[in-house]
């Protein structure tokens, strides 16, 4: 579904991504794991169009989308849940969700119900300002808002960041469920354990290069991954 070929990205004067290639098959959950500064966020930001690559190619559903602007890429079906949630604090929960469907011209009521079904807390709080939600609820809002665009590929940048372990488990349960409903997921995480347990395919990113890849369970049992990312 998504094919990255020899992607190089310069970011803030340094070469953050040094020529990576990987694929995200349709209906799968793919994760990129790696330490701070490995180039994970930069990769997602480049795919979503926020950052322009220095070279390389990004193909989505057979179409070259390299260098397209962000709204165009969203309209093709790729949505990013940004790092740190970035919900709109002075808009209501409902308005945040409606913004997620900004490009859609069709009726969004059934999707709103779908989101409220996934996240019942958001339904209770739909008239509250986004800024009044707790961290976990804000993450749910960020995911719900992204789903409102009806993405084919949902990209998530560290959805577990700064959340309590119980909430993290909730988030990953929901990621699984969204995937079962047919949305392909590209996830980046520092929480390698949870990410690899959830993912079909994993890639390990180290200082801008992919150093290992395999299925989630293969990487979980790989001694090098264990030592570097699972802390055992």
């Amino acid at each position: 579904m998504l094919k990255i070929t020899d992607l190089k990205v310069n970011y803030g004067g340094i070469e953050a991504v040094k020529g990576i290639s990987f694929e995200v098959p349709g209906k799968s959950i793919v994760t990129l794991i790696g330490a701070n500064g490995a180039g994970k966020s930069t990769t997602l930001r480049t795919i979503s169009g926020l950052v322009r690559p220095a070279s390389g190619k990004i193909e989505f559903l057979g179409e070259d989308i390299t260098g397209m602007d962000v709204p165009t890429i969203v309209s093709k079906g790729i949505t990013l849940v940004p790092e740190g949630r970035r919900i709109f604090p002075d808009l209501t929960v409902l308005e945040n969700l409606r913004l997620g469907a900004y490009l859609r011209k069709d009726n969004i009521d059934s999707d709103l119900n779908w989101i409220f079904d996934l996240f019942p807390r958001l339904k209770e709080r739909q008239w509250q300002l986004g800024g009044t939600l707790s961290g976990g609820e804000q993450q749910m809002l960020a995911v719900g808002r992204a789903l409102m665009s009806r993405p084919k590929l949902l990209m998530m940048d560290e959805p577990s960041l700064g959340l309590a372990p119980l909430v993290v488990r909730d988030i990953f349960r929901i990621i699984k469920r969204i995937n079962e409903e047919g949305v392909t997921i590209l996830l980046i995480e520092q929480n390698a354990n949870m990410a690899l347990q959830t993912a079909d395919i994993g890639y390990v990113l180290e200082t801008g290069r992919i150093t290992m890849s395999g299925t989630g369970s293969e990487l979980l049992s790989n001694p090098a991954v264990k030592e570097a990312y699972l802390g055992s």
Binding site: S48, G49, L50, D69, V70, P71, V74, S75, T79, L80, P82, G84, R86, F88, P89, D90, L91, E95, R98, L99, G100, Y102, L103, L129, G131, T132, L133, G135, Q138, R145, A146, S149, G162
Partner: protein, 294 residues
């Protein structure tokens, strides 16, 4: 009661001028809200609206000249943003501010060139230039029309911002450019719409304002522009209701001071007020409170 009777003309004039200031101040506050830019060219755009109106009415009937003036100013506001501010979107904020000062002087100097530096007489717009007597005070109809028209336009604007899709996009963009793009919002379109709305309101303001002042010079926009900027700061820059209330307060205070016979000090009052606000409450009456949650 004696005080009211004596000062009624001044209070009426104050409300009227306040409404005119409000229409200009909204442009400052909206642009600041979205770009964090003090658009120094806004006052000069207001002057340009006056001058263009003079040249248009020289050869066209009013019912064509008025809408045409509005359209030209909206296009001018749009072009100023595209040419002078958009290329600096990722530049430090100081650069775009200098660019705004440059546009301000450019407009003034073009006006100086076109008019030859002579004051041009503003056309009489029939009906609103007529005199009326209200509670024993004689004034022009425009004095009464201004606050009503201002309130209608402000209510329409607030409804647009709170209840429409483009309004929701404006609120989102004013908060966070990058995330707005991720929603599929084209920020350049939203910014252009903001400039067009601000310019249109300034053009309406200029028609009401210059009807009272009879002549337009190339620097006619500087003082009202500056005062409206103060009004926007007073109300809390970025807040539309704040700018409107600030503008009415400044307009009324200024005219009461004139009524007390201290005309010389009426401008000084406005700027003294600015200093006091910046010291006592830098965020203004309705300034943005930060509700970020990390």
């Amino acid at each position: 009661m004696d005080f009211i009777n004596q000062n009624l003309p001044y209070i009426l004039a104050g409300i009227s001028v306040g409404g005119q200031y409000a229409l200009i101040a909204i442009g400052y506050t909206m642009v600041y809200g979205i770009l964090r830019l003090i658009n120094f060219a806004h006052g000069d755009l207001f002057m340009a609206a006056g001058l263009i109106m003079i040249y248009l009415t020289a050869s066209l009937p009013l019912y064509i000249a008025i809408p045409l003036d509005l359209i030209i100013i909206a296009v001018l506001g749009f072009l100023i943003e595209r040419v002078a501010y958009k290329p600096l979107r990722n530049a430090p904020r100081m650069s775009i501010m200098i660019s705004a000062i440059g546009v301000s002087y450019l407009l003034q100097n073009v006006a100086l060139y076109v008019t030859g530096g002579l004051a041009k007489t503003y056309p009489t717009i029939p009906w609103i230039s007529n005199s009326v007597t209200i509670f024993g005070a004689t004034t022009k109809v425009v004095t009464l029309v201004t606050p009503v028209l201002t309130l209608i336009l402000v209510v329409a604007l607030v409804l647009l911002i709170n209840n429409t899709k483009i309004g929701m996009a404006m609120r989102a963009v004013s908060r966070d450019f990058e995330t707005s793009q991720l929603m599929g919002i084209k920020i350049n379109t939203v910014i252009s719409v903001t400039f067009i709305i601000g310019s249109l309101l300034a053009a309406v303001g200029s028609m009401l304002y210059f009807t009272n002042y009879t002549a337009v010079t190339p620097i006619s926009g500087s003082m009202p522009g500056l005062k409206c900027f103060v009004a926007a700061v007073f109300g809390g820059i970025g807040s539309i209701p704040g700018a409107v209330i600030g503008a009415f307060l400044i307009g009324i205070c200024e005219n009461i001071i004139k009524g007390l016979g201290w005309t010389t000090f009426s401008d000084a009052f406005t700027f003294a007020l600015l200093i006091v606000i910046l010291i006592a409450k830098p965020t203004g009456l309705f300034g943005e409170k930060s509700t970020d949650k990390v």
